[in-house]
Amino acid sequence: MTETILDLKDITVSFDTPDGTVEAVRGVNMQVHQGETVAIVGESGSGKSQAMMAAMGLLADNGTATGSAMYRGTELIGLPLARINKIRGAKITMIFQEPMTSLDPLYTIGQQICEPLQVHGKLSRARAKARALELLELVQIPNAAERVKAYPHELSGGQRQRVMIAMALANDPDLLIADEPTTALDVTIQADILGLLADLQKRLGMSILFITHDLGIVDAFADRVYVMRHGQVVEEGPTDQIFNAPSEDYTKLLLAAEPEGEKAPVPDTAPEVLTADDVVVTFGSGGGFLGGKRREVKAVKHVSLSLHKGQTLGIVGESGSGKSTLGRAILQLLPATGRVVFSGHDISGLTPHQMRAYRRDLQMVFQDPYGSLSPRMTVGEIITEGLLVHEPGISGKERDQRAMDALRAVDLDPNVRRRFPHEFSGGQRQRIAIARAVILRPTVMVLDEPTSALDRSVQKQIIALLRDIQQELDLSYIFISHDLSVVRAMSDTVMVMKDGDVVEQGPTQTIFDNPRSDYTRHLMRAAFDLKSVLREHIELTG
């Protein structure tokens, strides 16, 4: 057996909150051995991150940790700041989920990579700079000599995560803790970053502890897995064993949480409800009162589509592909050129006032179930607000009845009407958001990443729910997502977008089984065959 680098014994973490003490981690035991890749898998709130934050002394001020976290014979829990600071950033390093905010926006990436080098390695400024450059080349930042002077906001998400990795590797760590490092990234970028990590590990020999909710990554990346739920480890073992012969029900549930099934096709006779022809959206900046050149970016370039009654059109693309912009342009929520026809009426270029007549038929559900519900309104008020505008004639009693029906339609207890959004989980909130749209009995719903902020198991339920509602109310959906497996489970036809263009369009089956364009194939492999992509990556560089 190789040496144990990190040994957690009976770790508990609790937080003092205004609502009392919350136990986030309850007695967790874990080991990481030399050169090993260990994954901690769990859904949100399982305590998977907090267990590691406790070991690293990074809990929030109201958090308390007990138990033991031994790093090569040194107890980390309760270690004085000066001593733990000799280990953090040198022997054990971390990368985090949000590459947007994890770097200080006010300093260049070069300065930030140099800091741990100067602090731990006692390198002179000049030598630290040289080493920073080496590291940026190691993590394959193109044009490193120039990029070292760049600020975080001048880099893409993937590049920022590479910078974080460079920082993590700066002092030749024993252990790299990666907390959801690719969750905020596109699938193709995710594959690149994971490939880089796997490759670097092979060359440098450090251990990696990978915290994630995504089983696809675990399967491709980890040697051993801990499955966590409600602050406890429910199952542990080698990756193959966990995937092929899981013993716990929860693990089985997680493994089966991939959205499944497909949409029942609509008959060919179904009438067309919505068509868009040659839609172009241009964003401009600059060119104000005091001069300056006006810059224009075409976010959507000449896109046409058609949607039949009861049909779902899935729009897939990575961030910046223009998929959400297209959705909004179709609903006339932002200025666009081109023709949009809804049930025979040309709605393109209508004023907000003229559009009001069509708004109840054209509803939208957004990604963020936390931000899109007003925190100061009860659930009942939120979902009936649209009725006040579109059906002002109906009585309060009838409105209440409609609210109850809508809540039942999304499988929520009608009695939740008097409660406030903060009392609900992410999945429940998304149900409320759907109820708010459904109560108006719309014809078309644009769903913009409605499941992306949710855990897989919850996602699966929401997808099933959306399909049921569609069948029941004969709705047409425009379903926008970056998540290919979700789109597959929802759509009749699929449109793949990249940089504002439609790369390819066709029946779901055809696009998924026989993609014609290289880009779509690339996307599919990164999403569904991560394992072979990573293997290829390591073989290529090794």
Partner: protein, 307 residues
Amino acid sequence: MLRYIFRRLLGAIPTLFLIVTTAFFLIRIAPGGPFDAERALEPSVLANLNAYFHLDKPLYQQYFLYLWNLLQGDMGPSFFRRDFSVQELLAAGLPASITLGTLALLTAIVFGSILGCIAALRQNSWIDYTVVATATFGITVPNFVVAPLLALVFGVWLNLLPAGGWNGGAPANLVMPVIALALPQVAVIARMIRGAMIEALRSDHVRTARAYGLPTRMIVVTHSLRAAALPAVSYLGPAAAGLLTGSIVIEQIFGLPGIGREFVNAALSRDYTLVMGTVIVIAVFVLIFNLIVDILYAALDPRVRYE
């Protein structure tokens, strides 16, 4: 950047013109005139005076005349203190106001930042509560209460400092006016820095800094304070312009020859030209400090870029 500064200075011209025009007509709308007194003047004397100061001409002619003179750098004679031109009065008052204002500004920045930082780092401790309570006190108690109290305690009872007077700007004479002028600003800045620091200390990149074992000094100064200074910088632009152009209350209580006092006296006695002169000085200060703030902002935050 130079082009940006040039454009901003160019843009300041119409703003100044608008301010001058508005102020010119506003003060004329106010009832009463510069030569109204308890005992009315002889009609012939009044007519002479009006003719001498061109007040007998139609208002629009007076306006263009004033603009024309102003363009040549002449703000005209004071209507009330007739032996002096407006420039002379401003030149006499500005040094005291600027000295006082600069010292108060520096005091406010230094003590406000230090107190705000300490409170944020010791959030919800007795130190924090003391700072917050003191700051609230500093904001709520007006300086016409603080200033006489200071003068009474340190000037009269303890006899440590002169209770008033300028004395050529001697340090001892400056201590109390500076404290009285800076106190509310210290309080405001301390509160702003405290709030922004607490937020900065909770940010993801500070978590990164901690995870990388950086010493506390670097986490606080390098990675938090710079970000926390941004809102305070925006506040300081107009605040600095206000401090440097004098405070009527402080100047009156401590008997200091600043322009704050001139401004109020001029407005009350309808000294049209002197009012215009002080308005222009204050406007120029505000415009300059707003420009400085914007430049500083870009220097502090690389995401802000002007072209």
